[in-house]
Amino acid sequence: MILALLVTAALTALLAATLLLPAQLSAAGEARLIERIDALLPQTQCGRCTFAGCKPYATALARGEADINQCPPGGPSTMIALAALLKRDARPVDPKFGVVPEVATVAWIDEPACIGCAKCIQVCPVDAIVGASKFMHTVIAAQCTGCELCIPPCPVDCIEMRPAAARA
Amino acid sequence: MKLATPPAPHEIAPNSVGRVMRLVIYALVPAIVMHVVFLGPGLIVQILLGVATALATEALALQLRRQPLWRFLSDGTAIITAMLIALCLPPLAPWWLVVSGTAFAILLAKHLFGGMGANPFNPAMVGYAVLLVSFPAQLTQWLAPNISGLQTVHLGFGDVLQTIFSGELPARLTWDAVTSPTPLATLRTQLALGQTMQEVRANPVFGILGGRGWEWINFATLVGGIWLLAMRIIRWQIPVALLAGIAVPAGILYAIDPGSYPGPIFHLTGGAAMLGAFFIATDPVSAATSDRGRLIYGAGIGVITYVIRTWGGYPDGIAFAVLLMNAAVPLIDRFTVPRIYGHPP
């Protein structure tokens, strides 16, 4: 009887040890998971998911601190890919975070109206706006992700979103 | 002037699925003739029954699925399925065997998966395997080949019809008198009784290469198969790999212990190896699709067939081997995509 209890206890202790093991090793696993999630995100860096960019959102997803339906630029396809990777239920993108765009857009600066305040340059998450203070600015269309972050800071409302030109 | 603007290419070779299937049917003719010569006219009745069932069930399935009836009935795929099932059954098998087997093949193995071109399993082999596991007794009642010394009684066409449709032999005959186990079945029972290969081979059912009579049927099948190769309807990879998959292990074991294992020639001519290699495994829909994949697929069928024949519970294993490798085909296809031009190996 006592022997039986001892054997069971010993094995249970072993099991507990293996259950604790993943916690020790989870950091490496988490970094890999974040990378995998990040690879699925559209990299608009728009922050509509309420995080500061795609990578931060990926980190939050990996830690279970965010839901998979928070990325409007990625739309349903990104959501489905995330659901498959994270083994969560698919659900439509929450309109709370923004509308899923129908066509890809890029920012366009009405250059004559630009006063060269450089505010948009500071907020562009991918350095796609060039120009210097007091000089007019231009969006490098090929590098613009269409995040729309440059629109609110513009004091003269000279930035608008235009459909991205068809790329060869 | 207003002309039609179809897309390129404008040059198309005159070819059709119907033509391909017709050629396969022609290629089966030598085997059928030899079969009838040695085993009597039962096969013809079985084929007619099977083809009628196949066309009827195919029409039913097409009707239910709202598919164009004539286009798919005339492609000939259902006819081939029925012919292959009939070729696998004993010539005197009761009519409901071929009918139920063919109906099962067409409805469950073919149309349930989306009809022609989409079935992952070879319909004929599904039909046959279902019959084999369900009615093993009926499937062992093979006729003795029509060769002096083997066949003791002669069956007329009337006798054949009566047997097939009533399931009973004419009163003057008994099953023991008309049937004889196939060479592979004989081999299996005799070896199980502890006889050596030499003693087994002394049995009158065996000929120079394989079973008497059966050698000729297999030879005729091979001729038809080679004609299909020459007509470029099938490719060499599957038949060659399949036959090698049987012959190589057979050769190795024969070399080690000729007393207990029959040689490769016997294995190739004794059972359904030829039919399997040239007509069953080469069904393109359920076979692997790249050159390398076909080699793996064919070799897999050969080896599994040999394993089942030698150590398994059934005398022949082609049907099961084909179905097992059918299940593996999508996986094989996934890993045998050829290197594309301009891509690193």
Binding site: L3, S26 | H111, V307, A327, P330
Partner: protein
């Protein structure tokens, strides 16, 4: 032999369906093959280790002390530990998709069922027997799971009659695979 294969096939079916049941969402199969590879590798690892381990527990730990009645309990604990370790190994490797935690539980129960089946239905008389058995079952399970997943992927674009889509077609597929496995009847006389 064919009985064992049938048990394996049912385990495959459970594995295939488990991740889709909560969602019942066909989109989930999007990268199913990659996750299936992860699950197959992890399960194979578990089975390969579990078989000799259970032999050792039985013959080195329980039998000498007359504790055979504890076999099932101890065995399940051991399987859980091994499955955990396999999950950790997957997480650390760079090649395979990590197996989600919920799935480890499923893997554990699968392995436990299979393992108990070995213990009862086969008499692994020596340690090397149990090693071989574990290796064979692990590889067979992985192969069957991948075969089934690839088959399902091929069927995804087939024009299957509406009432047979998804689950019915998958069940028929498994049925036909089982039919093919019947060919191995009598291969190992038990």
């Amino acid at each position: 032999m064919s009985a064992l294969l049938l048990i394996l096939l049912s385990a495959v079916l459970v594995c295939y369906y488990a991740p889709t049941i909560p969602a019942l969402n066909p989109f989930l199969a999007a990268d199913h093959f990659d996750s299936a590879v992860g699950i197959a590798v992890a399960s194979a690892l578990t089975l390969i280790v579990v078989s000799p381990l259970s032999y050792l527990i039985e013959h080195a730990l329980l039998a000498p002390r007359g504790l055979e009645q504890l076999r099932t309990l101890v065995f399940i604990i051991a399987v859980m530990a091994v499955a955990q370790l396999a999950g950790v190994a997957m997480r650390l490797s760079k090649r395979w998709m990590p197996v989600p935690t919920a799935f480890l539980l499923l893997m554990t129960s699968n392995s436990a069922v299979l393992g108990v089946a070995f213990l009862d239905t086969t008499r692994a008389r020596t340690f090397s027997d149990s090693l071989l058995l574990g290796l064979g079952t692990g590889l067979a399970f992985a192969l069957l799971l991948l075969m089934f997943t690839a088959l399902q992927q091929r069927l995804r674009y087939a024009n299957i009659p509406v009432m047979f889509r998804d689950t019915p077609a998958a069940l028929v597929t498994v049925g036909l695979m089982a039919l093919a496995c019947m060919g191995f009847t009598g291969l190992i006389r038990e």
